[in-house]
């Protein structure tokens, strides 16, 4: 199977910083340097680059080519994966596909963004005509609409979300790369008492922007073996869906593409939710974590709160979840943020989790969420299952 003939030979990440004053090329350079250092590859061995877009440079064309030039690379394959929070995991699948097609053999994946230092993002989509005139407040407004409908259909339990908030924050306290602004303990009451932004979305439901970068080096398995790397991680299952129900005018807003993307990823990996050792779901809002647990089959639709209540998600618990703090407690690196939980999963499978190292490292599941549709759930869903040297 093509996906599994590729490996992640290394990972890299910068600290997440609020208003760092930096910009994406600078942090991207740090990521490449770190990957060359940790993997022993030389720059000339890299023949492919995949980047995610950056809020800091979203109005530019030629983003990937600029990156190639700024990093002094000469490449046979270059692409930008424009899938929002699905970009990082989506880059692994695309790197594997490009390698399998013989287009290149070693791909650098760089996700770098500095939204709190430079904001250059505009929408050319439905917003100006159809949601801005009625004051829909970006992602919190859309997740407010989603949450209220979920509450109507199943009942929304703030206590379950409070547990996720506290669990993730405890993990961020153990993560030196998490944004310092967020590295203070919170309690259940802090979550429940945080002010309403777009009811029923509270402040502590929401992710906060920070500047940061992350990346991976993806190469052919035989190259990794020949170099006698002592450790690498293999993508063993992947599923991706954009615009689920896109041909229909009426859909259930509480459903998204993770149901079918997850089913495909599990089938390819030969695993079921019960086999997963640690889970690293994309987290822009806490309810997104609960919805993904339901859609991926960890529990049934509407039973997320019960599952959360019964499960210990701490790094040393039954099902470790977002062990770096997730984006909500580590900071969201703009359009590079999808790489934060992905890199954490890879780090855990490398056994390099330090004070938050999980016990079981036979596999890890990572997801992405990208884009928000008009009056619907999120637009893109990816599910990636990883295993060490499978």
């Amino acid at each position: 199977m093509a996906l599994q003939d590729c490996v992640i030979a290394g990972y890299a990440e910068t600290e997440l910083r609020y208003k760092s004053g930096s910009e994406p090329f600078a942090l991207g350079g740090v990521i490449m340097d770190s990957l060359l250092n940790s993997t022993g590859f030389s720059k000339s061995e890299i023949d492919g680059l995949i980047v995610t877009p950056s809020v800091s440079a979203a109005a530019t064309a030629f983003w990937a080519q600029s990156f190639v030039e700024f990093l002094g690379l000469e490449l046979n394959f270059v692409d930008t994966v424009d899938l929002g929070g699905c970009g990082a995991a989506g880059s692994v699948a695309r790197a594997a596909a490009a390698i399998d097609a013989g287009l290149c053999s070693t791909v650098l994946v760089i996700c770098s963004d500095t939204p709190t230092s430079r904001f250059d993002y505009v929408n050319y989509s439905y917003h100006e005509e159809w949601s801005d005139p009625v004051g829909l407040m970006g992602p919190p407004g859309s997740f407010g609409l989603l949450s209220k409908r979920y509450d109507h259909q199943y009942g929304l339990d703030p206590e379950a979300l409070a547990k996720l908030a506290v669990t993730q924050r405890n993990h961020a306290l153990l993560n030196d790369n998490a944004c310092q602004k967020l590295r203070t303990p919170i309690t259940r009451e802090d979550y429940l008492n945080s002010r309403m932004i777009a009811e029923p979305i509270r402040l502590l439901d929401c992710v906060m922007f920070a500047d940061g970068a992350n990346g991976l080096l993806v190469t052919r398995r035989d190259i990794a073996k020949a170099r006698k790397l002592d450790r690498f991680v293999v993508p063993i299952g992947y599923g991706e869906v954009t615009n689920v129900g896109g041909a229909s005018s009426l859909v259930d807003i509480t459903n998204a593409g993770h149901t079918s993307a997850g089913a495909r990823a599990f089938a390819q990996a030969g695993l079921t939710p019960g086999d997963i050792n640690s889970v690293h779901p994309y987290d822009d809002f806490l309810i997104a974590i609960m919805l993904q647990l339901e859609m991926l089959g960890f529990c049934k639709p509407g039973q997320g709160a019960d599952f959360i209540r019964e499960t210990n998600f701490a790094f040393d618990g039954d099902l470790p979840l977002n062990t770096g703090g997730g984006q909500i407690s580590a900071g969201q690196a703009g359009l590079a943020g999808g790489g934060t939980n992905l890199v954490e999963a890879v780090r855990q499978l490398f056994g390099q989790g330090g004070p938050r190292q999980v016990k079981d490292t036979e596999n890890a599941l990572v997801t992405g969420i990208g884009w928000i549709n008009y009056g619907r759930n999120w637009g893109s869903s990816v599910v990636l299952i990883l295993a060490p040297d499978a």
Partner: protein
């Protein structure tokens, strides 16, 4: 019953139309609601697109509907962007029209009790500076299916 904070007085400024939305906005000048309908499937769609989302074909037709429906979901916004700043909290709703489309809008001329899922609603056309109207919704006392 407490009055629900309204957005009727919030200036919406000017905004551009995409070309395939133009019939909607022209009809809004007369407070008529036109929706795109796919002639092959009968499916209505909103927002306007260049093709039928059902078939992918460009042979869309515009049909007038009465715009009645119900609240599918809502959120009370507390940090309104742009001209909505200081007007909060205000209600953004998803209106599920009987014609079979969802429209993101505001609920106006309502009490706090009206802001609930399943509440019957009808169009309220809010005047824009350029003669067009913005499609908002208000509570509807008529029984559905008449």
């Amino acid at each position: 019953m407490a009055k629900l904070n309204d957005t009727v007085d919030v200036s919406r400024g000017s905004f551009r139309e995409l070309p395939f939305s133009h019939p909607f906005w022209e009809a809004s000048r007369e407070k008529r609601l036109l929706l795109q309908q796919c002639p092959r499937t009968g499916q209505f769609q909103f927002f306007p697109r260049p093709v039928s989302i059902a078939t992918g074909r460009t042979d869309l037709e515009w049909r007038e509907v009465d715009g009645r429906g119900e609240i599918y979901s809502y959120t009370l916004t507390h940090l309104g962007p742009g001209p909505f700043k200081g007007q909060d909290p205000y209600a953004v709703i998803i209106a599920r029209l009987d014609a079979g489309v969802d429209i993101v809008s505001n609920l106006v001329h309502a009490s706090t009790e009206d802001l609930c899922i399943g509440r019957r609603i009808r169009p309220y056309w809010m005047p824009l500076d350029d003669g067009r109207h913005l499609l908002l919704f208000e509570p509807d006392s008529e029984v559905p299916g008449k």
